[in-house]
Subunit: 309 residues, 2 copies
Amino acid sequence: QDPNEVPPPPPVVHYRMNNVTTSSQPIENRESVLILTPLAKFYSQYWDNLLALSYPHDLISLGFIIPKGREGNEATRQLQDRITKTQAPSNKKHRFASITILRQDDEPPTAQSESERHALSHQKVRRAAMSRARNSLLFTTLGPTTSWVLWLDADVIETPPSLIQDLASHDKPIIVPNCMQRYWNKDKGAEDVRPYDFNSWQDSPTALGLAEKMGPDEILLEGYAEMATYRSLMAYMGEPTGDAKKIVDLDGVGGTALLVKAEVHRDGAMFPPFPFYHLIETEGFAKMARRLGWKSFGLPNFYVYHYNE
Amino acid sequence: QDPNEVPPPPPVVHYRMNNVTTSSQPIENRESVLILTPLAKFYSQYWDNLLALSYPHDLISLGFIIPKGREGNEATRQLQDRITKTQAPSNKKHRFASITILRQDDEPPTAQSESERHALSHQKVRRAAMSRARNSLLFTTLGPTTSWVLWLDADVIETPPSLIQDLASHDKPIIVPNCMQRYWNKDKGAEDVRPYDFNSWQDSPTALGLAEKMGPDEILLEGYAEMATYRSLMAYMGEPTGDAKKIVDLDGVGGTALLVKAEVHRDGAMFPPFPFYHLIETEGFAKMARRLGWKSFGLPNFYVYHYNE
Ligand SMILES: Nc1nc2c(ncn2[C@@H]2O[C@H](COP(=O)(O)OP(=O)(O)O)[C@@H](O)[C@H]2O)c(=O)[nH]1
Ligand SMILES: Nc1nc2c(ncn2[C@@H]2O[C@H](COP(=O)(O)OP(=O)(O)O)[C@@H](O)[C@H]2O)c(=O)[nH]1
Ligand SMILES: [Mn+2]
Ligand SMILES: [Mn+2]
């Protein structure tokens, strides 16, 4: 390159927000999807499922946020290994539009075993940290041309290839599948399935009453016997031969897999790390979106599966 | 270009968040600044001031959000005229790193004359719309390498060239200068200066008491006789020969000119279009940032000036 050559002027880019559609026909309308994953541990089945997505990969961007420290370094290395293969020039047909990896400033606040994470006493601090990680990822990767954001946890290891189209086909601002977990049922002596994510729910008078009596910094948590909310949990709404398209209203949502119209986030809906109507993280997000005029929905018979440690 | 040539692989970008510093020495540390402006009407003095900023322009990105409609079209045209000259390849030394212009889906909710806008009855709807515009701009332009966000209204037409360095030198999460307005003082028969932005304040027991008695959807507004809050307004804290470096704590901030560490936004601090502790927009932002652990500060003797219609 000629050192005296005048470089091209820096970019000035115009975007008309009404050209960024979100519709039930996202492929036909060439709608961009941003898949966002907070990632503390890498599972190869997660990546296999991303690769198997039938949504056009040139319309998909990926964003990851990974904690500092030894575990985060290991997860980054494993992720980078798979990325190098997927994004190779020779893999033109299957590679993704772009990939962003953020390395956090901090390590996870609590140990990462399933039972430790889920201890009630750890939830507030852990979910506040998760909220900040999700917000950092969201605020720095969402672009003016993104139509949809798919939140997908790194330990969701079974999803259908048509996940994006299936969820988008309902054309809802916020929609969430039912996240289950496979396990060995000792009593039956057989493989079985149980609910995993209890954050997708319809509110109850009991929960609202509990919230009303709480101090400003207290939060409601779901799935703890110590705190019976009597909410209707989507986790228990699945029917053995139910219609996968069956849809229900929700007041709280989980984030293991969660499709959001980008304009919901653009309006300001984020993951509150502080109690917001006594809710935090993804449940607080659903409430905040509601305050902005956007409703949440769930698909009780549409399943994705969480890893079992 | 050879049509058979394999294009380069799509970008995979790694960012270490702890490399993105925000310090009192932003130039020496090559810290990126994103200047964000909601723009309904274009003033050439606004652009003149941007051009006169002594902060290295290659570290400055600009983002605009402009409403739909005839007025928005006109503002876009005027802005684009100035951009074309500023970003010309021949203007290498002064041009900015990048410029993003978002055109909104909607028109402003109320008429745009100063007195109409400021009518108490219009404030809630107008400031909710402003919040959504600010959020859209923020969520889509903030990048992983941004260190600082400078919010600057399009009708702030007098600012010092060292604005960014001066504000950043205090190394505070959120800092706001005192926004005044020049006017013709009939009594004195002379040019004079009066306070313009009443949104930068320290809370008062009266305001907190009013808020406590409010319904969940009511908001507190500042600068209205109908609603005496007895807050300490920074607008009235300026001293004729006061030190420009004098700094005060604030509980609410205005957005005419406002410097924010990018990590405050990344943590999730946005402009609530809904009542948040009975506050909205920039005042709600300060409260939300506080809930996230970030404090706001003001410079009562450091002045910027708002246009006078
Ligand atoms: N960036 C980041 N990701 C995390 C952190 N802790 C957990 N994760 C990831 O966030 C998602 C949800 O966390 P997880 O611990 O599985 O939550 P649970 O399944 O609800 O108990 C998973 O993809 C984790 O790998 C963290 O501190 N930082
Ligand atoms: N994008 C956008 N900008 C707006 C809208 N209304 C006002 N603005 C701009 O937002 C800033 C603040 O609005 P302004 O009406 O001046 O507020 P005030 O000075 O507090 O009365 C100014 O830069 C306006 O040009 C709107 O509906 N959309
Ligand atoms: Mn998990
Ligand atoms: Mn103004």
